[in-house]
């Protein structure tokens, strides 16, 4: 299940829902990404006043479905959930949730990490931050590209 939304989400509610949907799961992993107070990518100094998330409607959903499908092909998953917020966020707000359920912990951990790694590099979202020093688009990080390598080894 995939949602792109302006609204915040409740991790407790989402966990309860995936636990229900997953049936006989032995392991549920959740990842939550949050707006940090300071972004360390050097593009600005100073505390973040707001973060604006832009996306490409249509392609975003397609892309997240593809990623979810790839994860389901690779691990025996009982349920997955992806929520990504868009619009204006502020310090400490939740940005993204990925949750996976499986019989065993390995599949749940690996698939959640896989989905996040692909989401970071392939899903069409862009972050712009506003601080006292002004506005700037956050730059993509080489480490995010590198994170994909581990999934592509033969």
């Amino acid at each position: 299940m995939i949602s792109i939304q302006n609204e915040d989400f409740s991790l407790g509610d989402e966990y309860a829902a995936i636990r229900r949907r997953a049936g006989d799961a032995g392991a549920i992993v959740t990842f939550t990404g949050l707006v940090r107070e300071v972004y360390g990518d050097g593009s600005t100094a100073g505390a973040v006043q707001s973060l604006t998330l832009e996306h490409y409607p249509g392609m975003t959903e397609k892309c997240l479905k593809d990623i979810q499908h790839k994860a389901e092909q690779r691990w025996p998953l009982l349920a997955t959930r992806i929520i990504h917020r868009v619009g204006e966020l502020t310090s400490c707000d939740q940005i993204v949730l990925v949750a996976t359920a499986s019989a065993h912990r390995h599949a749940a951990f690996e698939s959640a990490q896989f989905i996040m790694d692909y989401l970071k590099s392939e899903a069409p979202f862009w972050k712009k931050q506003k601080s006292e020093q002004g506005s700037s688009w956050i730059k993509s990080r080489d480490t995010d590209k590198a994170a994909l390598d581990r999934w592509q080894k033969p």
Binding site: G33, L53, E54, H55, Y56, G58, M59, K62, C63, H84, I95, V96, M116, L119, K120, S121, E122, A123, P124, F125, W126, K127, K128, W137, I138, K139, S140
Partner: protein, 89 residues
């Protein structure tokens, strides 16, 4: 009609988010479209010219919502999008 969308820093630099374009007969690939846009809008150079962009500000292209290379063919009614590397999550 070809539709072209621009996102994030590219949208801001070009000051436009979407446009419609009658695909010229001689434009049959993404690279040809970029060349065509550069002639029609000289200020696009800041975004599309390799030489004028700072390191790391790569332009990605999607055709029909899939990321493609510069040699990807174009057809009438394609949905083209230009954007910088993604920074979601």
């Amino acid at each position: 009609m070809l539709s072209i969308q621009y996102f994030a820093s590219i949208r801001e630099t070009l000051d436009r988010n979407v446009e419609q374009l009658e695909l010229p007969r001689n434009v049959t690939s993404v690279q040809m479209l970029i060349d065509h846009l550069l002639i029609a809008n000289p200020h696009f150079e800041a975004v599309f010219k390799e030489s004028s962009r700072s390191k790391g500000s790569k332009v990605l292209v999607a055709v029909n919502q899939t990321i493609v290379g510069r040699n990807h063919p174009l057809s009438e009614n394609d949905e083209v999008a230009f954007f910088p590397p993604m920074t979601g999550g």
